[in-house]
Amino acid sequence: MKFKVNYKEVFASAGGQSFDKNKPVIIFVHGSGLSHVTWVLQTRYFAFHGYSVLAIDLPGHGYSEGPSLTSMEEMGDWIAEVIDVSGIKEASLVGHSQGCLIAMETASRYPEKVKCLSLMGGGGAIPMNPELLNLAENGEAKAVDLMMDWAHGPAGHFGGHPVPGLHHINIGGTIVHNGSVKDALGVDFRACDNYKNGFEAAKKIKCPTLNILGEFDRMIPVTEGKKLADSIVDSKVVIIPECGHMILLEKADQALAILKKFIKANHPTK
């Protein structure tokens, strides 16, 4: 579905159902350079089980009009505006990687709008390797290859996509390439590197929060994820074994099962 925020067109997948603002709403926020497509193995379940979902494409990503936003604070405000223009008072947020930082900003700045918060690979900061940042800002394909290498655990490097016949690393890389390495990934990486407010934002989050971490995540190691969770008042951590940073795809079924339990408990359907 398409709608407008600040006069710019936004695309969000409603998980194959019509958006109904009278149902509890879950907003899914993707990671750096990616798009709503990464959430397909979570969104369709919720959309067909009593929820309305919005897997948004951030500005300048997927089918949403650009330009990309340049700071987590700005993106956090933007999610709050998505909630407003959707005609709802509150939503549950689910973020992945950079999407976690964005969702944390929204939850800390607009606590009344966030029912519960689910993070996948959530850390308090995502400092970037200077060479990788430089490659992405220059639109180099190598930045995508490096990102896909580091982001994936064994399922990405060897195999075992939950959907028969699909290939993790090539899908992730293609999503980034189908957008813009320079104007989406590069801008996102710079925003991640600049962001220093993660732990301060975490302290202000009052809603129930879950951080799902991958045992083999090299981008947000388990220790970093736990450190973030320790800064949030009402938080839980679940560690998925043998999983890298692309938790939502690498271990899609386990991630969905954990999300189902958490969201149904904290944001139940009527």
Partner: protein, 436 residues
């Protein structure tokens, strides 16, 4: 700083598979089962509605076949793949996933005979028309595209004439018209060329050939590149419109760069059902494990046989894109830098009768209707693989009466040459040898 993702030879052995968690099986297990037990009714419903990934019924997917699909997707650089019972059913599934009655296809004229018949005759019965263009006539592809054209189709290395399609140029023409380029890459395998790197959008293989490599198992596969934007125009309603077969699912919207593979499986495998057997998938996986090693030997022997045939007095002509006098030598060097495959076409002096004597005299080389076996194969296309064509279509397909199609095997090169020496002796004195 370089990515540490696995390279081609490693992916050939490991892609798509991790040792089994229950028993530690290092080899890919053969899941010889039709169906899969659901955890509960909620799980079953989620699988049927594509809310979760997983296996339901082996017509639609199977764990052994899925390893093969993921491995070939890894080798090709694709987002996903669907394996089928044969290469021919992969061609059919690709077309039927994108094309409707009243639509049009532009295709290279130099194709496997079965594909020519499918496009020229069979699909016409369903209201799908094809315009054929010589693969070297790049401008011809542009001229042939109509408003109702849905895809451009071709083989990189034409069968059996070995014409080379300039994939980057044809891809640009297809994309300018808003349609995908579909490439049958059977003759090159991803070891020699990954068509996605040159602009193709969907790649098809007959896995029966070099990928399996041992002449044991039939199989085909379609692989999605993931870069084609199905939403750019209103041509691809199967990708963009809500599909009643899955509660109004829009494949392009939900699945993005894997939309085509998802639709081909969800609709095509469900409704047409050309599934690959798990045992065939296992056999083909075994073949792929040694693909790079075998292809290097195929190329080595091909080079030696080209030298031999080019200098043999009994040979009327030799065609292979690696030969400098081949009309497509330059483009072959561009897109097939390691070598243009291990099929050689040649004419035996003395015409059809001499050619038949040659084929009947060779003993190491097998006379059969296949290519890409590890064993050396020969065939006379005019009387076999392309025999169902009328003379005009044969001419269009680049066939001649004296042509022998030679699939170079990986035997010791001296033994292949010795066998061919016998063949040429027989061709020179057909009656004498035939009577021995």
């Amino acid at each position: 700083m370089d990515p540490k993702t696995y390279k081609f030879d490693t992916l050939s052995l490991h892609g798509g598979h991790q040792p089994d968690k229950n028993f530690g099986s290092r080899a890919v297990p053969i899941y010889q089962t039709t169906s899969y037990v659901f955890q509960d009714t909620d799980h079953a419903a989620a699988l049927f509605n594509l809310e979760q990934g997983g296996h339901i019924y082996s017509r639609i997917s199977n764990p052994t076949v899925a390893v093969l699909e993921e491995r070939v997707a890894a080798l090709e650089g694709g987002t996903g793949a669907v394996a089928t019972a044969s290469g021919q059913s992969s061609v059919f599934l690709t077309i039927m996933t994108l094309v409707n009655s009243g639509d049009h296809i532009v295709s290279s004229s130099q194709l496997y005979g079965g594909t020519v018949n499918l496009l020229r005759l069979t699909l016409l019965r369903f209201g799908i028309e094809t315009t054929f263009v010589k693969p070297r006539d790049t401008e011809g592809f542009k001229k042939a595209i109509k408003p109702n054209t849905k895809l451009v189709f071709g083989e990189i290395i034409g069968n059996p004439g070995l014409e080379i399609m300039d994939v980057p140029e044809v891809a640009t023409i297809a994309h300018d018209a808003g349609v995908p380029l579909v490439i049958d890459a059977t003759f090159n395998t991803p070891y020699l060329c990954r068509p996605f790197d040159f602009g193709a959008d969907i790649v098809i293989h007959s896995l029966t050939k070099w990928m399996c490599g041992h002449g044991t198992s039939m199989g085909g596969i379609l692989v999605e590149g993931g870069k084609f934007d199905w939403t750019q125009n209103n041509k691809f309603l199967t990708m963009t419109e809500p599909y009643p077969g899955y509660h109004g699912l829009s494949f392009a919207e939900e699945f993005g760069p894997m939309a085509f593979a998802m639709r081909a499986r969800a609709e095509g495998m469900r409704d047409f059902g050309p599934c690959m057997s798990p045992t065939n998938a296992f056999n083909i996986l075994q073949g792929i494990e040694t693909l790079s090693v075998r292809m290097d030997k195929h190329l080595f022997n091909t080079k030696k046989m080209l030298e031999y045939l080019s200098n043999h007095e009994g040979v009327e002509w030799v065609a292979h894109p690696d030969l400098s006098d081949h009309p497509d030598h330059k483009v072959a060097k561009k897109i097939l830098p390691k070598g243009a495959g291990s099929i050689i076409a040649f004419g035996v002096k003395g015409g059809r009768a001499a050619g038949e004597s040659f084929i009947n005299a060779v003993k190491l080389a097998s006379n059969l209707a296949n290519v890409g076996d590890s064993k050396t194969l020969v065939i006379h296309p005019a009387s076999t693989t392309h025999s169902q064509m009328d003379s005009e279509t044969m001419k269009l397909a680049g066939l001649s009466e004296d042509m022998i199609r030679f699939s170079v095997g990986i035997e010791n090169i001296e033994d292949i040459i010795s066998d061919f020496d016998n063949g040429f002796r027989a061709a020179k004195k057909p009656r004498l040898v035939t009577n021995q």
